[in-house]
Structure formats: structure tokens, C-alpha cells
């Protein structure tokens, strides 16, 4: 027998300890973690035990168990139970904690929640039996395996608290035993080895226990036991029916705060105008804020949701140069693109504005003057990078170089993408002008600074109060705290540019405000464009609750810099009460990249043929709350087909709605509720209340799970009661079928309301199909019978379309960005309604592929030689034509999926 081991792997630790304890004679060999020792596995795996018969055991637990069997000791069921529990529960949880602590450098507390429960379980079991070991009086495979799992935690200096006293005793006892010590010395000399091992793990493995994975966390929600009181209360509420519920609020523009009302002002980070937003941008701010805004409206709260494009700054100027337009034209163009995208995604802004307005100038200059009067501005000379080739001062983002802090090679002038620290452009090593690649020189210029250190005291006092009363996401608090901890420095608020809000001082005539000072003021000015009574929202902290949505990179500007401007201006501004920051959304396994054409961008989502509501659903389902998450085409297909089609769609129309049509001539039947029905009502009510609680805390993803749970309960309820069978039975059976159908269709109606923030068009479709009264669009904590017996419903038709594998596969290819840059544009060109050869022509497509490649190279060469634009354009034209032919020859029609996914109506 030969045992292959790897240093730093907890599995090897177990196996080695088992060898030592049992004394079985085994040949040991340490191999590197990359070595393939199990012939049929695609991934390297240690430990692995090669048996004499040629079999291979590659699970650490099985190896331990086998070694113990060889000593002749009988395996009791208890041992087996422990082994299985360790493999499925404990090990993944431990790995997740270790991974996040050692590889990602997060705090150890994060994963401990899950782990704590497990540790309690071990502790309790040891206490109960009062045996020194897990399965009796001697060391068993169970002890070794659990020890091997927990030992790395201790070596990573996660300490166990007093509550795990017994567990700790047991662990210490084993750790100090000779075999275990030997094993630890050989397999896990120091914590560093463990880190190396962890880094080699495929990322999703340790994370899938809890972090980034897109799976719902299975919580105890389904097991919630209902007391009789709860059931009775839910039933009483149900009986009251629609009349008992408030009517939906009618909003009239302009919406203004009202006394004694919940007044909620919602902003989402202003998208920068020169880019088309990608899915990550969309979920990060506008979509998340939209769900919350729609939810607030359903709760009859008084809300205003504003957003707009952030239009000033060098990036716009440069883009304008590129496209040969004026900055204003660029803004107009992209503002329209943004508006269209958000419209397509059904984002319910009360007002979508822009920052290039005279209101912006007035308000920004007013805040500036107030800061100046109160001595919160400093005057200083700044060394700035100037590109002499382009003859202009370079804005931070137009300089690239090596990060002075972490030596990352592609750090931008304002921030390093790798270490995330803000940097000063002139500190960059080897700076390069991004436009012409020349090396810029340092020149000095007068600038104004916001004196953050002077405002620090005020800021901290405010933060303390806002954190105590508001819902700031954990990352927002963390980022803010680390900013303040690093010490606040004065920040420059002016720039040598033309495209911006002018600085209203004589000696700064040719300067404008720096975007980060200017942009957040956009929230105020956009509101001012919406209503001249904007101050009722923005200078009214007593009555208004301000929710700001953004991705995490925007946090410091909203939690430190902008509040400092507001506080320093001393004008009773409304400051953020709830700062909701998302983590990043990755695309498949990497990042979205406009330049490489990787990922789905807002304007392309439409062309995929997948309806906006499906996009909304999926993005919200994987909303990066708490952890980064990833967009994956396969997962999209899976979630659409399993959650929407098989769960929601199946319940709402294939069952609830369809039964009413088919068996009861479209009228909601009479309902006589028995205990089971009441329990369902209690269950639904409970999920509804959970969902409300989550949404009040802006935990959008968790709330969505409650909705899906309701539908799941509904499906189970119908499955158990089988109304389609009972309808053919005797009188009592038929009545029962009626009751079940009636209750189900009311659950469907409730779902349509709860879904509204997530999938507004689907919600409207359901309500149209059910002919639900408009009044039902109010959410309370109660589940009411909104569709009473006798209510006539409309035509029922399928809500969702199945997504097919090949359709998703072709989309994945289309957005994978693997084609070279020059050809990228070509793939976006859709063939006209031209003749499509069915089946495709292999020969021809091969030829064409070669030609396309040749042409691509030609264009690249021309560009290198700086050939005339007209010439290049002509060649690009040819390339496009070739690509088009190629697509046809391959028999693909990029438009095909579009027709498939189209909605029924």
C-alpha cells in the first residue's frame, strides 16, 4: 500500500494521523499538490491511498476508515455517522472560514456563524456521552477525522471560546498525543503551508458553503412551526378580505415630503455618461434602488426615486474628441442611451436627470461659497502631470503607471484597481499618458482643497448617529471606517479643465470643480430640476430618510467626502441615513470588460431576446449582497427553468389559474377552509412577513427567496390535495377541489403583488390574467382573500419560456469576447433578413474564417502604420461583410434566439 500525501492539505493530516494511530504499515510519499495520483480524476487530489489490489481511495475519510478497519476494529454506526457529517457539514464550513480568513484576508468572524452551530453539535455530543472520545473509550476514525478537520483552524489561530470547553479539552488531548503531533509536524509544519494549499483550491469549492454561490441558503424557514394562535390570526386576517386593506397610494408629481408620513428619498449612484452600463452597474445601483422604490410604493410610503447621468469631467471631453462631437453632444447622446436602457429594464425613476444643468451650477457654487465662508477650504499649489504632446493637464484617469504601494502595473492615476488605495497621480511610478503614451511632465498649478481633517470631528459624530439608527451595509461601514482610520487628508476640489461646473472665483476662472465634489451634488440639482421645492427633500433631515444605493467603490464619496461638504456648508442638509452598497458582480469567471468585449452590457441585454423581467429576476437573485457573485449563463438558464418555469410559473398559471378556468368556468369557487388550508395561510403569511422584514432592511435577495418559498408551498399544497382528481369525485371531493383551487388562486394573486418590485411586467400580466383589482397592489403584513368566491378571472396563458441549452450556449459565445478587437464590432452586426442557408456549409465557413483572420491582420497592420482613416474604414467594411457571410455559412442566425424568447403577448 502506498499513501500519497501533500503538505498543507488537511486531508493528508487526517490520513497521516490515522497511519500513526493504527500503526498500519504503509509506504508514505509526499507529492506536490499539482501531481495527479488518481488516474481517473481530472483534478489532482491528495491524499490518495493506492491499495495493493489496484484500487485507489481518494477521500481522506475513507482512507482513515480503511486503515482503522485493517486493525480489526469494528466500525460502529456512530463512527460512520460522524465521518459522513464531517465530510458534508464540518469540512466545507471549516474550509470556507479558512479560505476567507487566509486567502481573502477577511475577518475570521465571517464564516464562524455556520461553524459555530457545528461546533456546538460536537461539544454537546461529547458532553452527553461523557466518553473521552467521540465513539467510545478509544480513539476511532471519527476522532482522527474531526481532529484533522479542526486542527488547521487552531493553527490559523482561530480560538475557541469558553462555551466549547469540552470540545477544547478533547482537541487538546488529541493534539498532544504522539501520533497526532507526528502527523502535524509532517503534514502541516506551519500555517503558511495551509495557505498555499488553500490558494490552490478551486475558488468555488470553499465558498459554496455560504459565500458567493448563487444558491439560496437553505434556512429553517420551511420548518417553522406554527402555534394555534398564529394560524388563527392569519385566518382571521384572511377572512376580512380586500375591504380591510388600505387602498394603494396615488402619487402626484411633484412628490414632496409630508408631515407624519414615512418620507423616503432614494438615490442610485449617478452613472457616468461616457459608458454604457454593464449588468454589474445595473444591479449595483439602479435596479436595486428600483426594487426598493417599488416596494416602498407598495407599502404606501411617500417616496421619491431620482437618478441621472453624471456628465462633467475629462472623460467626457476625451470621448467627445474621439467621436468628433462637442462634450454637450456626447452627453446628450449618452444620456439618451442610458435612459433607453433603464427604460427597457423597467426602472421606475420618478425623475431621471443629468448634471449639466444651471441648477447644478447654482447649488454647487452655493455649497462652495458656504464652505469658503466657513474656512473649510485651503489654497495650495499642486504638482500636476501635464502631457506636452497633448498640451493639457492630465486628469487622474488619463495617467497610468505602476502603483507606488503595491507595484501593480496598470494602476490608474486616481486609484489602484489591485490594492484599491487612492493614489496621487504624480506618485505613480513610470507615468504614461493614456491617450498618446508619452511620458507626462510635472507642472504646478493653484488649487483649492476641502479641509477634511478640520471636519473630521463633525463627521464622526454624525456617522456614529447615522450608524446607530440607519441600515448601512456591512461593507459600507467597513470601507468608511478604514478610510477614517487611515487618516483624512485635504482633498483637491478643483481641476484645470473646461468641461465642468465653473469655480466662482476670479483667480480660478479657468478651472472647474473636480467631479467627485461636483457629482454627488447632482442628486440635489437633479431633484431641483424635478421640483423647485427640492429643499423640502434635501434640507429636511427631520422628516426625510435618505437611502443611497451604489457599488462598494463609491462608498467613500458618499460616506465621507460628500457628507463633509454637506456638514461643512452648515445648511441643514439631509444626510444619508441608509447607505446600501453592493459587492461586485463578476461575469462568468472574470470581470466585465468593455474593451475586451467581455460581458453583457445594458444595450445588448435587449438583443438577447430574453425579456427584461427575466434579467431583472436573475440579477436580483444573484445580487452581490455580502459577497461578490458571478453572472453565469448556465445558472441563468437553470434559475429560469427551475425557479421561474417550474416553480413560480407552474404554480401561478399551470395550476392555480388554469384550474379555475378549466374546472370552474373561470370563476373562483366557494371555499370551506379546513385545518390544512389554514396552515397554508399561516405559512404564506409568515413568509410574507419575513419578506417584509428583509425588504425593510433592503435585503432584496433574501426577500426574493421568501416569495419563491410561497410558491413552493403552493405547489406542495396542490400536489398533496390533487384537485384535478377530486374534481371528478363525489360532492365532497368536488367541494374540496374548489376550496384548494380557490385558496391557490388567492396565493397566486398575493404573489403577483409581491413580485411587482422584482418583475413588474410579469406581475402586471398575472394580475391581468386573474383580473385582479388594481386595489390589491398594497403590501401589508397580512395575507388577505383578494379574489372572493365568484370572482371572474381572465384568460390564462404561460408566463415564462423555457431557455434552451443551445440558445444559452450561443449567447455565451457571443459575449465571451474571444474574438480579436477589430472583429469585435463585426460580431455585433446582425445579418439582415438575408437568405440563411440551413445547416451551414463547413468548407465555406473554414475558408471564410481564414479570410476573416487575414483581413483582421491587414487592418491591424494598417492601423500600426497609421494609415489614412478612409482606407482603414474601407477595409473594416470588407471585414464586416466577411463576418456576415461567415455567420450565414455556419448556419447561425444570431437573431434566432430573439424570436424564441419573445413574450407571449
Amino acid at each position: 500500500m502506498k499513501l500519497y500525501l501533500g503538505e498543507g492539505s488537511p486531508g493528508s493530516l487526517k490520513a497521516l494521523a490515522a497511519v500513526e494511530v493504527t500503526g498500519v504499515r504503509v509506504q508514505l510519499q509526499f507529492v506536490s499538490l499539482e501531481e495527479h495520483v488518481v488516474p481517473y480524476l481530472t483534478q489532482p487530489k491528495v491524499p490518495a491511498l493506492h491499495l495493493d489490489g489496484g484500487n485507489v481511495l481518494f477521500s481522506a475519510n475513507a482512507i482513515c476508515q480503511y486503515l482503522f478497519t485493517l486493525t480489526g476494529k469494528d466500525q460502529c454506526d456512530l463512527t460512520n455517522q460522524w465521518l459522513e457529517w464531517e465530510a458534508t457539514e464540518l469540512e466545507p464550513a471549516v474550509l470556507a472560514v479558512l479560505y476567507s480568513a487566509m486567502v481573502q484576508g477577511k475577518s475570521k468572524e465571517e464564516g464562524l456563524g455556520v461553524l459555530r452551530k457545528l461546533l456546538i453539535h460536537v461539544n454537546q455530543s461529547l458532553l452527553k456521552t461523557s466518553n473521552p472520545y467521540l465513539a467510545g473509550n478509544s480513539v476511532s476514525a471519527a476522532d482522527i477525522v474531526l481532529w484533522g478537520s479542526l486542527y488547521p483552524l487552531l493553527s490559523a489561530s482561530v480560538s475557541l471560546t469558553e462555551e466549547f470547553k469540552t470540545l477544547n479539552c478533547w482537541l487538546q488531548n488529541l493534539s498532544s498525543s504522539e501520533p497526532c503531533q507526528k502527523a502535524a509536524d509532517a503534514a502541516l509544519k506551519d500555517a503558511h503551508l495551509l495557505k498555499v494549499y488553500l490558494q490552490k483550491l478551486p475558488v468555488p469549492a470553499p465558498l459554496s458553503q455560504k459565500p458567493t454561490c448563487n444558491e439560496p441558503e437553505e434556512e429553517a424557514s420551511t420548518e417553522h412551526a406554527f402555534s394555534e394562535e398564529e394560524v388563527a390570526a392569519a385566518f382571521q386576517a384572511w377572512l376580512k378580505g380586500r375591504e380591510a386593506s388600505p387602498k394603494p397610494r396615488q402619487f402626484q408629481h411633484p412628490i414632496l415630503p409630508e408631515k407624519n408620513q414615512k418620507n423616503i428619498l432614494i438615490t442610485s449612484a449617478l452613472p457616468y455618461v461616457n459608458n454604457v452600463p454593464h449588468l454589474g452597474n445595473i444591479i449595483g445601483c439602479v435596479l436595486s434602488a428600483d426594487v426598493f422604490a417599488r416596494y416602498c410604493r407598495l407599502r404606501n410610503w411617500n417616496i421619491l426615486y431620482i437618478c441621472g447621468t453624471d456628465e462633467y469631467g475629462t472623460a467626457t471631453e476625451t470621448k467627445a474628441m474621439e467621436e468628433g462631437l462637442t462634450p454637450q453632444q456626447i452627453c446628450d447622446k449618452y444620456n439618451a442611451i442610458h435612459s433607453q436602457i433603464y427604460q427597457w429594464f423597467n426602472i421606475s425613476f420618478d425623475y431621471f436627470g443629468r448634471t449639466t444643468t444651471h441648477q447644478q451650477t447654482e447649488i454647487a457654487q452655493d455649497i462652495f461659497r458656504r464652505l469658503l465662508d466657513r474656512n473649510f477650504l485651503l489654497n495650495d499649489v499642486v504638482e500636476q502631470l501635464k502631457c506636452e504632446a497633448c498640451n493639457r493637464f492630465l486628469a487622474d484617469r488619463f495617467v497610468e503607471g505602476v502603483c507606488p504601494l503595491c507595484n501593480y502595473e496598470e494602476a490608474r492615476g486616481d486609484q489602484c484597481d489591485k490594492c484599491g488605495k487612492l493614489i496621487n497621480a504624480i506618485e505613480l511610478k513610470k507615468p504614461v499618458c493614456k491617450i498618446c503614451k508619452a511620458t507626462p511632465v510635472v507642472q504646478s498649478s493653484q488649487h483649492l482643497f476641502l479641509d477634511l481633517p478640520k471636519l473630521e470631528g463633525t463627521l464622526e459624530k454624525w456617522l456614529e448617529q447615522s450608524w446607530a439608527t440607519g441600515d448601512w451595509t456591512a461593507n459600507a461601514r467597513y470601507i468608511t471606517r478604514s478610510w477614517i482610520r487611515d487618516g483624512l487628508k485635504p482633498r483637491c476640489i478643483t481641476r484645470d479643465l473646461k468641461w465642468g461646473t465653473p469655480v466662482p472665483l476670479k483667480e480660478f476662472e479657468d478651472k472647474v470643480f473636480y467631479v467627485w465634489f461636483d457629482a454627488p451634488i447632482g442628486y440635489l440639482s437633479i431633484t431641483a430640476c424635478y421640483t423647485d421645492q427640492w429643499e423640502k427633500w434635501w434640507k429636511n433631515p427631520e422628516q426625510v430618510q435618505l437611502y443611497q444605493f451604489m457599488a462598494k467603490d463609491n462608498v467613500p464619496f458618499h460616506s465621507v467626502v460628500f457628507p463633509c461638504s454637506q456638514l461643512g456648508a452648515e445648511d441643514n442638509y439631509t444626510l444619508v441615513n441608509h447607505l446600501i452598497a453592493t459587492e461586485y458582480l463578476n461575469y462568468e469567471d472574470g470581470k466585465f470588460s468593455k474593451s475586451r468585449g467581455v460581458g453583457v452590457f445594458g444595450d445588448m441585454a435587449k438583443d438577447t431576446g430574453i425579456p427584461a423581467d427575466i434579467w431583472r429576476f436573475y440579477l436580483l437573485f444573484i445580487r452581490p449582497e455580502g459577497q461578490d457573485s458571478a453572472f453565469s449563463w448556465n445558472d441563468l438558464l437553470l434559475k429560469n427553468n427551475s425557479e421561474l418555469l417550474n416553480n413560480l410559473g407552474n404554480f401561478i398559471n399551470s395550476r392555480a389559474g388554469m384550474f379555475v378556468c378549466k374546472f370552474f368556468e373561470g370563476r373562483v369557487p366557494e371555499m370551506e377552509l379546513n385545518a390544512e388550508d389554514k396552515r397554508l395561510i399561516a405559512q404564506v403569511t409568515w413568509e410574507l412577513q419575513q419578506s417584509n422584514q428583509f425588504l425593510e432592511k433592503v435585503r432584496i435577495r433574501d426577500a426574493l427567496k421568501c416569495i419563491l418559498n410561497i410558491s413552493r408551498h403552493g405547489n406542495q399544497y396542490i400536489q398533496v390535495n390533487e384537485p384535478w382528481k377530486r374534481i371528478k369525485g363525489d360532492d365532497a371531493d368536488q367541494k374540496r377541489a374548489g376550496t384548494v383551487t380557490g385558496v391557490a388562486v388567492n396565493v397566486a394573486c398575493l404573489l403577483s403583488v409581491m413580485l411587482q418590485p422584482y418583475m413588474p411586467s410579469v406581475s402586471a400580466t398575472i394580475q391581468e390574467q386573474l383580473q385582479a383589482p388594481q386595489d390589491c397592489n398594497v403590501l401589508t403584513n397580512q395575507f388577505l382573500c383578494t379574489l372572493p368566491a365568484g370572482h371572474r378571472i381572465g384568460m390564462v396563458s404561460p408566463l415564462f419560456q423555457k431557455l434552451e441549452n443551445d440558445q444559452i450556449e450561443s449567447l455565451r459565445r457571443r459575449f465571451s469576447g474571444q474574438q480579436p478587437k477589430d472583429e469585435k464590432k463585426a460580431t455585433e452586426v446582425k445579418p439582415g433578413a438575408a437568405e440563411v442557408e440551413k445547416g451551414g456549409d463547413l468548407e465555406r465557413s473554414k475558408e471564410l474564417t481564414q479570410e476573416v483572420e487575414k483581413q483582421g491582420n491587414l487592418i491591424r497592420e494598417l492601423k500600426m502604420q497609421k494609415a489614412e482613416k478612409a482606407l482603414i474604414d474601407a477595409e473594416v467594411e470588407k471585414l464586416l461583410e466577411l463576418k456576415k457571410q461567415l455567420t450565414l455559412a455556419e448556419g447561425k442566425t444570431p437573431e434566432a434566439p430573439a424570436q424564441k424568447g419573445k413574450k407571449k403577448k
Binding site: 488516474p39 481517473y40 480524476l41 481530472t42 483534478q43 491499495l51 489490489g53 484500487n55 481511495l57 481518494f58 477521500s59 475519510n61 475513507a62 476508515q65 480503511y66 478497519t69 460512520n80 465521518l83 459522513e84 465530510a87 458534508t88 466545507p92 478551486p202 468555488p204 469549492a205 459554496s208 441549452n805
Partner: protein
């Protein structure tokens, strides 16, 4: 070698669960390669391992397209064999495997 069989059964069930964390494709390819020269999971007879694995895989196999089943030809062969053992299938639905290959050009 009953012990090995038992152990292997455990090994496999564990392996399966662990594999679920990775892409299902990679996992099944592993199993597919393992089964290349085997009729049963452990040894040369029908064991508990086969039954457990059958139950573990059923929901996954049920979702596969014909093409995917063909891609995992050894798993399909084994699965089809096991599901026809008397009393193995119980309440689970029988899964259809085509006898003739449709996508042979892929290989």
C-alpha cells in the same frame, strides 16, 4: 473484499457530494473516466455503492440532454444497467437512454 466495497461506497458518495461543488461536468467526467473499465463501482459485483450512487445521481442525470448523456457514455451505460436491477428504482422515474448514438461526430 467486502470492506473495500463498503469503503468504496462511502468514498463514492463522498466524492459525489464533494464533486457537486465543482462544475457538475467536471465531476461526471471524473466518474465517467472511472467507469471506463468497470461494470460496477466497487469490485465485480453489485454493491451498496451502486445503489447509493444511483440515488445521488438520479436528479442530475434526469436533467441531462441526450447529447450530454452521450458525452458521459460510461456513466450512462452504468446508470442504465443499475436502474434495471430489480427493486432499485423504487419511486424514481426510469430514465431513457438511446441505444444508437446521435452525436458520434463529436468524438
Amino acid at each position: 473484499m467486502a470492506a473495500v466495497a463498503e469503503l468504496s461506497s462511502l468514498e463514492k458518495t463522498l466524492g459525489l457530494r464533494e464533486g457537486n461543488k465543482f462544475s457538475t461536468q467536471g465531476d461526471k467526467q471524473d466518474l465517467n473516466r472511472y467507469l471506463e473499465d468497470k461494470v460496477y463501482l466497487a469490485g465485480n459485483s453489485f454493491t451498496l455503492a451502486d445503489i447509493l450512487m444511483y440515488y445521488g445521481l438520479h436528479p442530475i442525470i434526469a436533467e441531462l440532454t441526450i447529447q450530454e448523456k452521450e458525452k458521459h457514455v460510461n456513466v450512462s451505460r452504468w446508470f442504465n444497467h443499475i436502474q434495471h436491477y430489480p427493486n432499485v428504482r423504487q419511486h424514481l422515474s426510469p430514465i431513457i437512454f438511446l441505444k444508437n448514438r446521435l452525436y458520434s461526430s463529436v468524438y
